[in-house]
């Protein structure tokens, strides 16, 4: 679960670092991806794992449309409230539209390719969760390689660090923004399809993940791609262990406590700049 938190959060973190904008509808992109996967399964009997590429394309397109139609407009506005509320409003619009189209029924994919559990001694490990974790780490690795090792990725980093300097160096920042949305769409699309394997689908399911994503991004450090991975894993592990040791009813307390302690001693987050 931690790896999936990390994957969802790294998309959020990237947009935040790149455009200095808090994307409140990030969780709803996860929901869209889950519904895409569900739709492909119910119409074409396509397994969620096979539908990953389509989910990526859909969430990227929605991301780019959001950028073109809304974000690039509000980026020009001097008020940060406008930026916040525009994505927040979009989130409500997405969730309500999904509820209208798909009704608020809980959906889920029946008999997916990956099902059941593997027994190692007395421990049963859920296969869909294991697949989710491995898939999320692979997707994360791919993004990481792209950002750190390719020229486009380096241009993206440059834009993230100093947008004016990047412009002067001849980097097309608008193109970089779109690239950012594409990578974010890749993360969210993959995470959504992997989640569909074992999680229920509901118009408001994204909310659950977006709340945790904000914790992960802040804990990991704004705009830090590596930070998101570490923080995501920390949140997942702390949640599970404290649920077992202290008691499930208190499992979120240590998560937020860790978050507060880190912020007290390192306000920029674990790997944040400045």
């Amino acid at each position: 679960m931690g790896a999936l938190y990390a994957l969802v959060a790294s998309g959020l973190s990237l947009i935040q670092g790149l455009m200095n904008i808090i994307n409140f509808c990030h969780g709803d992109l996860v929901t869209i991806s889950m519904y895409t996967s569900f739709l492909l399964w119910s119409v074409f009997k396509m397994d969620p794992l096979v539908s990953i590429p389509v989910c990526i394309i859909v969430s990227t397109l929605v991301g780019i449309a959001t950028h073109k139609l809304i974000i690039s407009q509000v980026l020009r506005s001097p008020s940060s409230f406008g930026q916040m509320f525009s994505t927040y409003g979009l989130g409500i619009l997405i969730a309500s539209t999904l509820q209208f189209v798909f009704t608020p029924n809980y959906r889920s994919v029946l008999n997916p390719f990956v099902e059941g559990s593997i027994s190692i001694g007395a421990i049963n490990i859920s296969k869909p969760l294991l697949f989710g974790a491995v898939g999320a780490l692979l997707a994360y690795g791919l993004c990481y390689w792209f950002i750190r090792r390719t020229p486009e990725g380096q241009a993206l980093q440059a834009t993230e660090q100093d947008i004016d300097a990047a412009k002067m160096m001849g980097i097309d920042t608008e193109k970089m923004f779109l690239l950012g949305w594409t990578i974010s769409g890749f993360c969210v699309g993959t995470a959504g399809a992997l989640l569909t394997n074992f999680y229920y689908i509901h118009p408001y399911v994204g909310e659950t993940f977006s709340n945790i994503s904000f914790v992960v991004v802040t804990l990991g450090g704004y705009g830090s791609f590596e930070g998101s991975l570490i923080a995501g894993l920390i949140v997942g592990v702390v949640e599970t262990i404290s649920g077992y040791v202290i008691g499930p009813q208190y499992k979120l307390i240590p998560v937020y406590l860790t978050y507060l302690i880190v912020l007290m001693f390192r306000p920029r987050g674990l790997m944040g700049r400045r």
Binding site: M1, A95, S96, Q99, T103, P104, N105, Y106, R107, S108, L110, G116, S117, S119, N124, S126, K127, L129, F198, Y199, Y200, H202, P203, Y204, E207, T208, F209, I212, E239, T240, I241, S242, G243, Y244, G247, P248, Q249, K251, L252
Partner: protein
Amino acid sequence: MKKNIIPIFMLVVIFTSVCFSSGIAADDTVKIGVVYPLSGNQALTGFEYRAGCELAEEIINNEHPEWAPLKFAETAGIPALNGKKIEIVYGDSQATPERGQNEAERLITQEGVVALIGAFNSSVSTTASQVAERYGIPFICDSASSPTLTSRGFQYFFRVFGNDAIFVENLFTAMREEADKDTSREYKTVMVLNENSLWGSDVADIAKLVAPKYGFEVIDQISYPSTTTQVNSEVQRVIAKDPDILFQASYVADAMLFMRTFKEQKYTPKMYVYADGKPLNFSYRETLGPDGWWTVFRTVYSKKDAPFVKPITEDYFAEHYPDLKFNENQGSVITSVQVLVDAINRAGTTDPEKLREALTQTDIKGEEIILPFAGVQFDETGQNILARAIVVQAQEDFKFVNLWPSEMKNGDYVPYPSWEER
């Protein structure tokens, strides 16, 4: 020019909002406010209630002699008010107490409703009924079952539904009876697994109180937040304690998450009991399929032997709401509307004080309502003393077999099979 636009625009806004909020045509209907989670995580339940509200309007407002002796089916409108029709006005609580409170306030002050019905969640019912009490407007609680609701000394609060104290007792009575009959296994220990809002916590407290009376020992209790994304640690603790009976109070999404995780961990208790009617939920059945069979639960709705049950629940309902199946949610809202209309009819007015008086004297017979209660009569706390639950087991293909009470029993309990045996 620009200067003039703003005042004109504001005048238009004010005029339209006044028209819509007070309702120009308000006088020819009796407005009834309802508060349900119509959006958010529990929107599905709200959707089911909405269908119930529409069906209740159909029953009251139009003549349906074929649905007799269901109360007010044969007449059109409220007889004592010259056939005045009812109109249901919706409030969306999003399952949060604060929003429920605001919506109750809006329905009373802006929509001018004569009474409120709601609000599914016990926590929302608490705040929404506080508003109703403050304004002196009757609040008919249809399905929130937390016992604390009727212990507040409210004058305008009436609960048609049973409360959890009644329901949990009913469940444990049935559990004891079945445990005694099943000699192949021993049933001694109970583990309580509950979501941590008002409803789940109340159910857990009652279960811990009631269990020893029926010869069961409660070995542990786990309460968890219903918005959780994973329940691995909860499930691990259940496995570690390995109770004979698992007694669970969950909402739909988390109940499904638990069942899936139990399956992954290949764990089964000897008896799996839900504190409410999870297997009646459409999503639950669709999503879990065979994994949701063999659980025991209580319901207040079971097809009873009455002439109007099939025409309403199967013919009419299936035609208008193909996505839904008639269940206790529609049953409870229909009965609540009938109770309210009956009071208005006897009082001959919608004056809140006279309405309250009439409600306290409610006496509706069991055969006039769709819920399988013995009828509707309120005690001094506003609790319907004739409410009761039916304990049911979901068997193969979600065939629902009534286990308790004995006069409704129509099959035998099947011990909960392990995952390998299925």
